[in-house]
C-alpha cells in the first residue's frame, strides 16, 4: 500500500505530531509525505530525513501558507490518484482538513486511530475513550487521523527521501486567513512534554493559577495544562485544555492539581504513565486513576512542594 502523510509544520520546521503519524503509516506500507505551505522548502528537506520516508511531495504556494482546508483538500485529492491512504495527525489542522478530503473522495474517515490491526482494520476510541471500537473499512481509499500518543515517534534522522515539487490547485476563493494569536512559550509543548502540571477550577483565578502552577512547572521543566473549567473561567488560554475535546496527552508524569477528574478530562490524560493528584476531596474521581494521591489544600501543598524540590 502507498500511503501519504500530511506533514504538520509552521512553514519553518516539522512539528512533532508528524512523527507518530509516520509510524502509523509505515504499518500500512510505503510512506510518502506531503509538505504543503508557502516558502516551506526547508520543511521538506527536514521531512526527507525522517526514518523510513520515500518521496516528499512539496507543494509550495501562497494559497497553501495557512493550510486552509478549502485550498489544501483539492491538492490532496489529486495526489490520491497515486496513493491508497492519507494519514493526518489528529491535530486541529489534521481534523480540519481530513474530513473535507474524505468527502471529496467519497470515503468514510477513520478518526483518531489507536492501532493498525491490518490494512483495513483499526482501533479507535469512542465515548471519550470509555470504549474502544475495532472498525473495518470497505472503502477503496483510506483517510485516517492518528492519535499521537498511541504510536511511537519515527526517528527524525536516517531517512533519505527525495523531494519532488507538485503544484497546488490555487486559491479556491472561499476563505482567507485573517490572523492568529499563537502564544509563544519557552515551556515544552503540551503534547510533547515528559511532565505536565495541570490546574483546575480550584485555582480560583488567573493570578493564583500563574502563582501556584507555574513555579512548580518551572522546577520540573514541565508543560502546563488545564481543565475545561479553568479555561472557560479564563485562568489560561484555550490551547491549555486537556481532555476529550481538548488535547490528548500521555506524558511520563501528569500532575493534576485541583481537578476533580470528570470523564471528559480523564479522556485526555489517562494514558499518562504516572498520574499524581492533589485534591482536598479524598473522594474526588481523579484518585480512582491516580498512581499517587495527596489529599489536602493545594494552596498549602503546592508552594511547599515547589519549595522542597
Amino acid at each position: 500500500m502507498k500511503t501519504l502523510v500530511w506533514v504538520e509544520h509552521d512553514n519553518k520546521s516539522v512539528k512533532d505530531a508528524t512523527l507518530a503519524t509516520v509510524t502509523a503509516a509505515a504499518k500500512l506500507g510505503e510512506v510518502h509525505l506531503l509538505v504543503a505551505g508557502a516558502g516551506c522548502a526547508a520543511v521538506a528537506d527536514e521531512a526527507a530525513k525522517i526514518a523510513g520516508v520515500g518521496k516528499v511531495h512539496l507543494a509550495d504556494a501562497a494559497a497553501l501558507e495557512h493550510a486552509l482546508a478549502e485550498n489544501v483538500a483539492p491538492l490532496i485529492v489529486t495526489l490520491m490518484d497515486n496513493h491508497d491512504a492519507i494519514l493526518f495527525p489528529a491535530t486541529t489542522t489534521g481534523k480540519n482538513i481530513a474530513p473535507r478530503v474524505a468527502a471529496l473522495l467519497d470515503v468514510m474517515q477513520i478518526s483518531d486511530i489507536l492501532s493498525v490491526e491490518s490494512a483495513d482494520t483499526f482501533t479507535r476510541p469512542i465515548y471519550a475513550g470509555n470504549a474502544i471500537a475495532t472498525v473495518q473499512t470497505s472503502d477503496k481509499k483510506l483517510v485516517i487521523t492518528v492519535r499521537g500518543t498511541a504510536f511511537d515517534k519515527a526517528a527524525t534522522s536516517g531517512g533519505s527521501g527525495t523531494v519532488e515539487p507538485v503544484s497546488g490547485s490555487g486559491d479556491a476563493g472561499l476563505s482567507t486567513f485573517a490572523g492568529a494569536e499563537i502564544a509563544e512559550s519557552t515551556r515544552p509543548e503540551l503534547t510533547a512534554a515528559k511532565v505536565i502540571v495541570s490546574g483546575g477550577r480550584a485555582l480560583q483565578n488567573s493570578e493564583n493559577f500563574h502563582a501556584i502552577i507555574e513555579p512548580l512547572a518551572d522546577k520540573l521543566g514541565a508543560a502546563v495544562g488545564a481543565s475545561r473549567a479553568a479555561v472557560d473561567a479564563g485562568y489560561v488560554p484555550n490551547d491549555y485544555q486537556v481532555g476529550q475535546t481538548g488535547k490528548i496527552v500521555a506524558p511520563e508524569v501528569y500532575i493534576a492539581v485541583g481537578i476533580s477528574g470528570a470523564i471528559q478530562h480523564l479522556a485526555g490524560m489517562k494514558d499518562s504513565k504516572t498520574i499524581i493528584a492533589i485534591n482536598k476531596d479524598e473522594d474526588a474521581p481523579i484518585f480512582q486513576v491516580a498512581d499517587i494521591g495527596l489529599v489536602g489544600d493545594l494552596f498549602k501543598i503546592v508552594p511547599e512542594l515547589t519549595e522542597k524540590l
Binding site: Q109, L174, D239
Partner: protein, 250 residues
C-alpha cells in the same frame, strides 16, 4: 438569512458509558439521552443571530430515532429554533451519510449559514461539518469560539492547537462550534410548552434518495484497559521522594 442547525441525540454527557458484555457497542437501553452539547452551542449561536436581526429563521434538523421529536427537537425549538426537520431512522448513520443527507436539506432550505457541533460526544468523529462543506463546495470555519457576520461574509475565530486563528469566509458557509463560543440558554418549561406548537417536518431517509449503507463495520467494542487506583501519600515530603523515584526531581 436562514440558519440551519443539525443536531444529534446522544448519550447524556453526565452518564458513564457502559460497554455491552457481548462487545457489540455501548449500552443505550434505559439511559438518559440528550442533545449533543456542542449542538446546544450551535443553536444558541443561531438564535442569537436571529435576536440580533442578522438571521431571519433558525431551522434544526436531526437524523435519528423518531423519539427525537419529543426530546432533542423539542429542546431545540424551546431554545428558539423556529421549526424542525426529523429524518427518522432506527439505524446509526455515519458522518459521511449524514453529510450527504444534510447536503440535500441545505439544497432545499438554502441557508446562508449552517452551524454544527465540532464533534458528537458518542462517536467522537469530528467530521460531519467539514464533509458537508466539501459536498456543498462551501467555506468552513471549524472549532469556532467567535462568529461575526458582516457584509458578504463571516469572520470566524477558531480554537487551534497553538491558540486562536481567524479566517474570513465567503457566504454561504459552514461553522462548527467549540466550547467557548457561547453559553447555551436553558429550555425553560414555559418555552417547552410553547415549542410544542412549532412545526416538525417528518421525513425518512428514502425521501432523499441517499445511499446510507455504512462503510465502516464495527467488529467489536471493548472497555479500555483499566487503571488501578494507586496509593495515597501522607505528606509533601513523601511526594517529593516519589518524584525523585520517578526521576523527575533531583
Amino acid at each position: 438569512m436562514k440558519v440551519l442547525v443539525p443536531v444529534k441525540r446522544v448519550l447524556d454527557y453526565n452518564v458513564k458509558p457502559r460497554v455491552k458484555a457481548d462487545g457489540t457497542g455501548v449500552d443505550l437501553a434505559n439511559v438518559k439521552m440528550s442533545m449533543n452539547p456542542f449542538d446546544e452551542i450551535a443553536i444558541e449561536e443561531a438564535v442569537r443571530l436571529k435576536e440580533k436581526g442578522a438571521a431571519t429563521e433558525v431551522v434544526v434538523v436531526t437524523i435519528g430515532v423518531p423519539k427525537a421529536e419529543t426530546d432533542v427537537l423539542l429542546t431545540a425549538r424551546a431554545m428558539g429554533a423556529d421549526r424542525a426537520i426529523l429524518i427518522a431512522t432506527e439505524d446509526e448513520v455515519e458522518p459521511l451519510a449524514v453529510a450527504k443527507l444534510l447536503q440535500k436539506v441545505a439544497e432545499e432550505e438554502q441557508p446562508g449559514l449552517v452551524i454544527l457541533g465540532k464533534q458528537a460526544i458518542d462517536d467522537d468523529s469530528n467530521q460531519t461539518g467539514q464533509m458537508l462543506a466539501a459536498l456543498l463546495g462551501w467555506s468552513q470555519g471549524t472549532f469556532a469560539s467567535k462568529v461575526e457576520l458582516g457584509g458578504n461574509g463571516v469572520k470566524v475565530t477558531r480554537e487551534v492547537d497553538g491558540g486562536l486563528e481567524t479566517v474570513d469566509l465567503k457566504l454561504p458557509a459552514i461553522v462548527t462550534t467549540d466550547l467557548r463560543l457561547n453559553e447555551p440558554r436553558y429550555a425553560t418549561l414555559p418555552n417547552i410548552m410553547k415549542a410544542k406548537s412549532k412545526p416538525v417536518a417528518k421525513k425518512t431517509i428514502a425521501d432523499y434518495g441517499i445511499d446510507v449503507a455504512p462503510r465502516l463495520k464495527t467488529l467489536k467494542v471493548v472497555e479500555p484497559g483499566k487503571r488501578q487506583a494507586g496509593i495515597k501519600v501522607g505528606s509533601v515530603d513523601e511526594l517529593v521522594e516519589k518524584l525523585k523515584g520517578l526521576g523527575v526531581a533531583k
